[in-house]
Symmetry: C2
DNA sequence: TATATTCAGACAAACGTTTGCATAATTTTT
DNA sequence: AAAAATTATGCAAACGTTTGTCTGAATATA
């Protein structure tokens, strides 16, 4: 039962022609006569011939494989993103090699190594929270492996990336609250250094200023996203001099923790204080007091777009192959958007 | 800036020795003298030599790659499982090729094709909900690609699999409720044909019988897991003749929907009726009325174990290579376990 | 009919690595 | 000093495919 798979050689031998003819026949090369072309294709079918991809990868120096490194698949954002990536990749006939960094820089480096060794054609990366040294990415340039970053983007020049602009969404969120007659609007933001934090703040300031509510720094608290820290931040906000009637939180998880703290403080949610958040967790319908609205960041689309961009880069690379040193860097920004939930909560 | 990567040839030329010597030197082959071994390894390091994996894959007819097909990454169960898979794979020096079937048989088939063409060494599969024809898996036998199934397992003989026995966990769940003085215990189960459904039912019957509560078929309702169907099932149970004071639900999502329905019926959760569930969603702490307890299925461990098993199979395959036709099929069963939540709910 | 053109196919190299076998160089044994 | 054993290295094939170049045959042009 030794089941060697049929090769091009096998076909050639059986038909008494050369391998090159077989190869060309299978590729519909014009130089091959109709008769032989048919004979080859028929036999290939009969034998269940399938080209040996490993041979082709080797021969072409390409693997049609994309490496994806992201922090954490269990976060809804990333599991959505990977779906977008997969779909786009399959459409472009690429396969996806996956790795999670679990927000650990060492793991990130290790994955990068593995993928490089596996000779992936390109990389899609959302960097780990704790990465602030980008040498391992810069080193990739030398290997001529293009990288497209998405969502979590390193602060270095000359990179390709896809991201979502949070400023607009934030402005929409504040305006939404303003229309609902809120005048003191607080924010529980993320870790100070995070770009995502800065963007949210910027949107907050813009919107507050435009609504003539003025920007009061006391109404913005940073936190490190742990349950405890969120609780502390919430308490601080809700027991301050100017007590907000609405709070914008860094993401849905933060919102949930903040709600818990607010309830501990005997506040009525959606009456004394209400929440608007980022991320749009699918599960939040089920929670007791989901945020009134969420700023959607379109993870699926981000993943998809990033993949399409990468594939485009890969095409270009083979087309121009080193001669034309093209140095345009893609910076693709999607717009976030406020989604208002219709909370028919029981 | 044409940056060809260094090859074994390059090293050979520079040191004026043959490629075979270089290859052997790099592999610490005993036949190579210490002097040359050192020189080769030094130069390799200096040149930043890295073996071309595509060449090796091709030459060895192995890719050190495992294909993983699972239904849906956004389900907590599977995103946990993939972490276990990844960790075990990396430990064994394998890389993971990922694909989601989204519970679509056609996608499943397509992924299988892609992975086969990419010449993965082995496969890890959790089948799609809608798969009831297993030909595409049986076809793999001919290609000599081992498959280890996990969690969702096809009903065919002679396969390797890792699964979690739900019977014990279910028994524990019922006993837990019994100790809390519940005597009428209902169950909202899954689609009738699903093996998972059958197992839960079996556990239910076992435990009820042992507790001398007798098995009352009216207390068990099947549903297709949609929100509407769950609501209908809940209503049926809670307006029946024998009204249960506790309900075991197919999974946490079902529990959440059932709670909503119960509240719609003006029942007090945890007073009039309480819930125990399967799956243990991390988010459920945040919900208004999380289940009192969950039957944990250890997805991470399932993934890990499945991967280890597959790698073992792959080792054996190369060891015995066709001569010794080993036909032991691994059937690995983990035990589920009831996790009681301490619901310090506000 | 002789020459140019087109068509159909074959030949062989190349991609980078591993590995069985042969051989040269060295050392050990008699 | 010759034979045997050991050690270190080289040669070449193999893995399956693609592709540039060459050749022979058929056809068209003059």
């Amino acid at each position: 039962m030794e089941n060697r798979l049929p090769t091009i050689k096998e076909i050639a031998k059986q038909l008494n022609i050369s391998v090159s003819t077989v190869s060309r026949a299978l590729h519909d090369h014009p130089n091959i006569g109709l008769r032989t072309k048919m004979r080859v294709q028929q036999l290939a079918k009969d034998l269940n011939y399938e080209p040996n991809q490993t041979a082709i990868f080797f021969q072409q120096g390409k693997t049609y494989t994309i490496g994806v490194i992201l922090p954490e698949l269990s976060e809804a954002f990333f599991s959505s993103a990977i779906s977008g990536i997969e779909d786009a990749a399959h459409k472009g006939n690429y396969t996806v090699l996956l790795g999670q960094s679990h927000d650990d820089v060492e793991k990130e480096k290790h994955l990068l190594d593995t993928f490089r060794k596996h000779r992936v054609d390109g990389l899609l990366v959302s960097i780990s929270k704790n990465t602030n040294n980008y040498e391992h990415f810069e080193a990739l340039q030398r290997y001529n492996i293009p990288v497209v970053f998405f969502d979590r983007i390193p602060k270095i020049p000359n990179i390709h990336y896809v991201a979502c602009n949070m400023i607009n969404g934030t402005v929409q969120a504040i305006n939404f609250l303003f229309k609902k007659a809120h005048r003191i609007i607080g924010m529980i933001n993320g870790p100070e250094k995070l770009p995502a934090t800065k963007e949210r703040l910027e949107g907050y300031i813009q919107a507050m200023t435009k609504s003539r509510l003025k920007y009061d720094p006391n109404l913005v608290v940073n936190c490190n996203l742990t349950k405890e820290d969120v609780a502390a931040a919430t308490e601080k906000l809700l027991s301050g001099k100017r007590k907000p009637t609405a709070i914008v939180t860094f993401n849905d998880y933060v919102a949930l923790d903040a709600v818990q703290q607010a309830r501990k403080m005997k506040l009525k949610i959606n009456k004394d204080v209400c929440f608007v958040s980022y991320a749009n967790l699918p599960i939040s319908n089920y929670t007791a007091f989901p945020p009134l609205a969420s700023v959607e960041q379109f993870p699926y689309q981000q993943g998809q777009k990033a993949t399409e961009t990468l594939i485009e880069l890969l095409q270009k690379k083979t087309d121009e192959s080193a001669e034309n040193n093209n140095v345009t860097y893609y910076k693709i920004i999607l717009e976030s958007q406020l989604i208002v939930h219709d909370n028919k909560q029981v």
